[in-house]
Each structure stands twice: as C-alpha cells, then as structure tokens.
C-alpha cells in the first residue's frame, strides 16, 4: 500500500526554517533544529502525558500564526504546549520580549529557592542552575525570608527536599502514570503548595525511582547516592542487564568513580529527558560492575557540567550562529574588525612577509 505523503508544516524559528509533521509542538520543532534556539523546558517531559505549560520558561513569541492567518499571537505562548501551524514564524532568542519574560521567570523560580547548590546533590546536572547561569541576575532583589519545608525521607530510596522544588509537576505525573495507586501529589495551593507526603504510599512501587530522574532540581534525590560524590567527579558509562521486570528496559547509565559504581540512572537524551524508565531494582540494588554488561562511555548531554570534561562523544550545538545572527545580539562573539585595527578585512595577511606589525596596517590605511 502506498503511504500517503503527509503534508509537512513549515515553521521558522529564529530565522531558521524547518519542516515538521503536523501536531509537533514549537519546542519539539526547535529541538529538531537544535543549538541555541531551543527554549529551555523545566516542566515539559516528552514521556509524561499532560506535562508542560506550567513553568513558563519555554515562552516564545509567535510573530505570525500561520500562512493562512499571519497575525501575531497577542501573548507569549508556552512552546511546549503550542503546536506549530504551517507558515508559523516564531521568535525565541531573537525576541527581546521573550528574553525579558524569561529573565523574569527565572527570577521567580529563584526567589524561594534555597540556592544551596554547594550541598545539593543535583549541582552540576541541575536544570535550574543552567537556567540561572544563562538568565539569572547576579544578585537577588528578593529581601524576604525564603520558603522552607522539612526534609522528608520518602521510603528507603528517595529523599524529598521540598524547599528546592519548583513545582514542575513532573514527579506527580510519574506517580500518576507509572504507578496505579494514586491521583495527586500536591497538597495546598499557591506558593505554599507542596508535594504531598502521602506520595509515600506509592513509594513501594517498582518504578517510583524514576521521579529522581525527572526532577529538574535537587528536590528528589537518590538516598543511596546522597553526599557520596559530586557528579562531575564521576564518569558515566552506558550499560545494560537482563532485567526480570518486564516493564523495565534494563538500559542504564552507571556513574563510576574509580572502580566503584556510585549510582545508577536511566539514560538521558541531550534535553535531559530519560530514554526509557528503569525499575527500582536496577537503580538501587545493582551497584556492582559484575551486574552489568558495559557498552561504553556515555554521550554526555549539554545539561551537565560533565560536558565540560574530556569524554569522547561530547555533543556540540549545531553551528547555527550565522543563521540566527540576524537580529540577535551574540553573547560572546564580536566583530573583531570593529574593535581592533589589526585585523582589517581589507588587508590580506598572507601577503605580508614575516610577522605582521602594526605599521603594516597604518600604511595600508594611509593608502
């Protein structure tokens, strides 16, 4: 049977045009392009149905709705929950409005955050750290006591540090969608909402350990790893095993320091999202090299200080600078010709004999 050719939608994000299937979100279209123009996403999670729309870090400007209706959208939209239309024009880092709003969101996320990175296990692979590094202010404008909650041990494996939580709802969706027993995980409302302790009930579940992986911050941490090491001292290695649990993929990342496996996590893609869920046994009970078949070093994703190291397979962003330069203020790059007399474009350096001297250029200028 001949497959009918599906009409693809053309969407332009920060001056880069790409074709995607209808039903693709702006965020996923941007992820297809890759690089700097991908909006940060703190609450959306591909594998969790219904997630997204809450943190508002992924807001983008829609400069033209579609070819059929090219009007701009009046408000910024959450790119994770807005689908592309044919001919849509989206501005992310090329929009001052977006950057301004995003700076605001990051500030909101941080005002009640304890900023205890030095003693937080998530440090080094924390999305909030990345985000504040890119968008945060140097100091805080918040002059009030921060919100504090007691720590809770949610069973033998997981600790909840509600104080660090950004209420992205991801763990709630994990508990909803991977376990059968419960509906909600958030009590109370507003800025006193908290992940409810009755989450305990579902903590016996084989798959609940996955809440640790989805948590973008250090609110849910692995008690078997807590304080044992900093992630940037550990070395990630892909491995698998035959897991008896039919729902577990058995494919993991082992985090080594020397010969010792310090922790086991699911494998994450370059957006920091897990490829597939793993069971508690694989995560918490199998910490010997002999438990696993080693595949090789992990491709390190961009959401990690480990990417600053020297492991093979480091992924660099696609070279998109030239495409997006139009209208955008580059953060690091500058036009060298504008600030230095030395590298004048009119001067062909290869024609100069021996080492170049500034006098070579003065001459050139006076000609």
């Amino acid at each position: 049977m001949a497959e009918e050719q599906k009409k693809l939608f053309k969407v332009t994000i920060d001056n880069i045009t790409i074709e995607v299937e209808p039903g693709t979100s702006i965020l996923n279209a941007a992820r297809k392009i890759g690089g700097d123009i991908v909006p940060p996403a703190m609450c959306y999670y591909t594998r969790l149905k219904g997630s997204g729309g809450k943190c508002r870090t992924c807001l983008v400007e829609v400069a033209a709705g579609s070819t059929a209706d090219p009007r701009p959208m009046p408000k910024l939209v959450a790119s994770c929950r807005t689908n592309v239309m044919d001919g849509m024009v989206v501005k992310n880092i090329t929009s001052d409005k977006v950057i301004d709003a995003r700076n605001g969101i990051v500030e909101f996320l941080l005002i009640n955050h304890p900023l205890d990175c030095p003693i937080c296990d998530q440090a080094g692979e924390c999305h909030l750290q990345d985000l504040s590094y890119e968008h945060g202010l140097e100091g805080t404008r918040y002059e009030f006591p921060r919100r504090i909650f007691e720590k809770h041990d949610l069973g033998p494996y997981i600790q909840l540090h509600m104080t660090r939580c950004i209420l992205c709802f991801r763990c709630v969706y994990v508990a909803d969608q991977l376990t059968e027993k419960r509906e909600h995980g958030i009590l109370d409302r507003g800025d006193h909402s908290e992940i409810a302790t009755y989450i305990k009930k579902s903590l016996d579940h084989d798959f609940i350990g996955n809440v640790i992986d989805v948590c973008p911050v250090g609110a849910l941490t692995d008690r078997t790893f807590r304080f044992k090491n900093r992630v940037w001292f550990t070395k990630p290695v892909d491995a698998h095993r035959e897991c008896n649990n039919p729902k577990c993929c058995g494919k993991v990342t082992l985090w080594y320091r020397g010969e010792e496996v310090f922790r086991v996590t699911a494998r994450k893609d370059q957006w920091g999202e897990v490829d597939d869920w793993i069971c508690n046994e694989c995560r918490f009970e199998k910490k010997l090299t002999s438990d696993w078949v080693i595949e090789g070093p992990t491709m390190v994703n961009r959401h990690s200080v480990i990417a600053q190291g020297h492991y093979v397979g480091v992924e660099k962003p696609q070279e998109v600078l030239y495409d997006v330069l139009d209208g955008r203020k580059p953060r690091l790059f500058m036009d060298i010709h504008k600030i230095s007399e030395v590298n004048e474009p009119g001067r062909d350096l290869s024609k100069i004999e021996g080492p170049a001297h500034s006098t070579d250029f003065v001459e050139h200028k006076n000609k």
């Binding site: 997204g52 729309g53 809450k54 943190c55 508002r56 870090t57 807001l59 408000k75 910024l76 959450a78 929950r81 301004d100 709003a101 605001g104 969101i105 500030e107 909101f108 996320l109 005002i111 009640n112 404008r141 918040y142 009030f144 950004i166 209420l167 709802f169 509906e183 909600h184 958030i186 109370d188 409302r189 507003g190 800025d191 006193h192 909402s193």
Partner: protein, 449 residues
C-alpha cells in the same frame, strides 16, 4: 428610570416559591423555546440580542454557544458558573437568593439551545444556604414538569445538578471549575483545547455566568430585537452592578447601560452619594481584578467625555486611562481611603488564591504582597515601587490563566495613578501609619489631552 428585566419581580412577596414565580409569568420562555423554536433558533436569538457574558470577560454569549462542538454520540454540558468570589462582586448571590427560579428557567432554555441533557451549577462553597434554595427550586421545577424526561412533550430531556465548591476563587476560572467539577484539584487547564471542544469529562462544554443565563429569559420572552434596543452600542440589555464601599446605599442595582458613572454614584435611585458629604477619591468599577481609577478619570474619560456605565465607555482609554466593566463589582473609595492599603488587601487576596501551577503567579503574587506590606507599614524604599512595577509586568500575560493578570492589574493601576501616594508612604514612614495621604489632586479636573 432604568428598565428592569431581571430584578423586576425580586420584591414580589414569595417570589422564591414556584407558585408565585409561575403566576408572575415564570417559565413562559421555556414554553416559547421548547414548543416554537429549534435549538439553533434560540442560539440565533441570543446572538442577535448582543448579550455579552456577565462573568467578567464580556465575550458575546451567542457566539460562544455557536462554537460548541457537536460530535455524534457524545453528550454536551452546560455549566453555570456560580462561584462568584471576586472581591466586590455579589450580584449573582442576590439573583440566586431572591429569584432562584429565574436562573433555573434560563438554564433550561440554554440547555435546550446547547443540547445539554445534564447541566451543572457550580456554586461557591460559602453560598451554602443558596445551594439549598436552588435545590429546592430545582425540585419544584422538576415536580412541575420543567425538568426530567421529555419536557413539555418536546422530546428534550434535562436534569440540573448542583455542585458545591470548596472555597477557592480559582475554581471560578472556567477550566479550573471543570477540573473541580470532575472531582480533581482546581487547577486551570492549559488552553487549547477550549471547553467548547473538550470540557467536562472531555465533552464539549459551555460555562456561563449566572447573570448571563438568567438574561436568556427576557431575551426569549421579549425577542432579541427588543432586548438589543436597551443600552447602547455593544452593551445591550441590562446589567447587574453590585455596589459597595463608601456609598450611602450599597447593594445590587440593575441598570441599563446608558447611565453615567456620576449618576450611578450620586443618583438617589442608585448609590445615593458618598456618606458624610465626603469627596470621591477613586473607584474600582468592575470587581477587584480591574484597574482602579482616580475620580478625575472615572467620571470623565481622558477625552473629556462623560463616562457611561457600559463596556465600551468604562474601557475607554485602555489600561492607561480607563478600566473595565468586568464582573460589575463597583467599589467606591472616599477621600479618607488609602490606596496603598487597599492594594495590599487585594495583593493578599490574589496571593492566597493563586493555584500555584505556574511560576510567575505562584511566586510573583506573594512577592508583591510582601513588598506592599513593607510600604504600607512604613518600611518601604523608593526602589520598591519600581520593583513592584517590574514584578507585575513580568506576571502579566505570562501565566496559564487570567488570575495572574488579575493580580497584576490592580497593582499596575494603583502605581500608575497613585504613585505619589506610594512615594509619600516611603517618605513619611511614621505619618503613613497615623493618617492617610488623602485626596491630593485625584479629583482635580485633568488637563485636556
């Protein structure tokens, strides 16, 4: 003298009971609609009447109804929004308390137009006694054949169920209301999909305000054309205004939308002026979420025209120099009121009522409250005023539901129009706790633009 369409019979002895209501001409619109009109004809009448939603946004009701999806074999629902929790707004309460059958009548006709066989009334938790009044009215209507199977032999079935909220303002937002109705946490949904396509239990759903649905009754009875003749422009029919604050006669008034704001405040027929002969300082004309206006921008627009109590005139000048009709909660401030204190009160409310789903509203509302508290209690700094402005700006438009905007607007408007009063609080930390800034120049005539 304004014409009354909704509250005309409110004072009739015993009107709460079915017998009296029926004797006074009740349920005639149901007879007219179910016997002589198709559902689409009813929708068309509502469209022609120009009726705009009375819940706050003022969206044309007929248009909203025409958006409802009609997939084969899937039930549709009408949900009446009786969650009325906006500070300053208490018109639905009056209507339901005194004329319960008017709402039931409107609900039946509207359900017929929308094809809703199961209709819900989501009522504010604190309105417990009204729940009983409405349940009694539903039972009476049912006993008299206005509800149930095959109403008036038309083949149309309809049941109305009451659902009591648990005391959350956010459950008045239509998608949060639907979540709550489904038995879930009242978090607003991310739109699209809109309720008209996927609402309660993923079925097409229309959510309408109590007053909107009650207004269907006179529209069907008198015909859309007659109804549209009342009022001006896109503000047709009558509107209930709940007036409170520093006025002689607080209460619920039915106005036709042609009277001036001045007449409404000072007219004997309406609020009856300000007690003690004090002067008007400011007013929130449409419920706590809409921008506050100083007296000089309230009575006259920036263009110098008389401001009228209707949708267009109240919003004349945009947010910089106008306000909104909103939900019709009219709050009047005399010369002795403190705008900073009042803004703090509202900020506290929105902080308390934020559902906490999205970061700007969850974190920003609390932050604004804390800063306002500092300013009000003489601990503020000048930079705090700019900071407040920046925070509200970063909340507005960036949230899931309009509660974020509703929290930002009052702060923005207060700073925009009363900045000197905020500054006075900062400069006079002791005095600001002993007495108020007063009237200043807020009542002086504006320079012609």
């Amino acid at each position: 003298m304004g014409r009354k369409l909704l509250l005309e019979k409110a004072a009739v002895e015993g009107i709460r009971s079915y017998e009296v209501y029926r004797r006074e001409g009740g349920y005639l619109s149901v007879e007219k609609a179910l016997k002589n009109m198709t559902p689409d004809q009813v929708t068309d009448e509502v469209k022609k009447s120009g009726l705009r939603g009375r819940g706050g946004a003022g969206f044309p009701t007929g248009l909203k109804w025409s958006f409802i999806a009609k997939p084969e074999g899937i039930p549709r629902h009408l949900v009446c929004n009786a969650d009325e929790s906006e500070p300053g707004t208490f018109k639905d309460r009056y209507l339901m308390e005194f004329l319960p059958h008017l709402l039931i009548e409107g609900l039946i006709v509207s359900s017929y137009a929308l094809g809703s066989n199961t209709t819900y009334v989501y009522i504010r938790g604190e309105y417990a006694w009204i729940l009983e009044i409405l349940e009694q009215a539903i039972a009476e209507a049912k006993n008299n054949g206005w509800l149930g199977k095959n109403i008036l032999g038309s083949g149309f079935d309809c049941e109305i169920y009451m659902h009591r909220g648990a005391g959350a303002y956010i459950c008045g937002e239509e998608t949060a209301l639907i979540e709550s109705l489904e038995g879930k946490r009242g978090n607003p949904r991310i739109k699209p999909p809109f309720p008209a396509v996927k609402g309660a239990w993923d079925r097409p759903t229309v959510v309408n305000n109590v007053e909107t649905l009650a207004a269907i009754v006179p529209i069907i009875n008198m015909g859309a054309e007659e109804y549209a003749k009342i009022g001006v422009g896109k503000s047709t029919g009558t509107k209930l205004i709940s007036a409170c604050g520093n006025i002689n006669k607080p209460g619920v008034y039915e106005i036709d939308m042609t009277i001036s704001v001045e007449e409404f405040i000072y007219g004997e027929e309406y609020c009856g002026g300000i007690p003690g002969g004090k002067r008007l300082k400011a007013c929130i004309p449409g419920g706590s979420s809409v921008p506050i206006l100083p007296a000089n921008l309230l009575l006259k627009t920036a263009k110098g025209e008389t401001r009228i109590m209707n949708y267009e005139s109240l919003s004349d000048g945009g947010f910089a120099k106008g306000s909104m009709m909103g939900s019709g909660g009219f709050i009047v401030f005399d010369e002795d009121q403190c705008v900073v204190r009042h803004t703090l009160t509202l900020a506290r409310f929105y902080h308390h009522e934020s559902c906490g789903q999205c970061s700007p509203c969850r974190e920003g509302t609390g932050w604004m409250e804390k800063i306002l508290k500092n300013i009000e209690y003489g601990k503020g700094k000048h930079s705090d005023i700019d900071l407040l402005w920046d925070i509200q700006r970063k909340i507005e438009g960036n949230t899931i539901c309009p509660l974020g905007d509703a929290a930002a607007w009052p702060v923005a408007a207060a700073i925009r129009h009363f900045r000197d009063e905020f500054e006075w609080h900062v400069n006079n930390p002791v005095e600001c706790q002993q007495h108020n800034y007063g009237l200043a120049h807020y009542a002086d005539a504006l320079e012609p633009a």
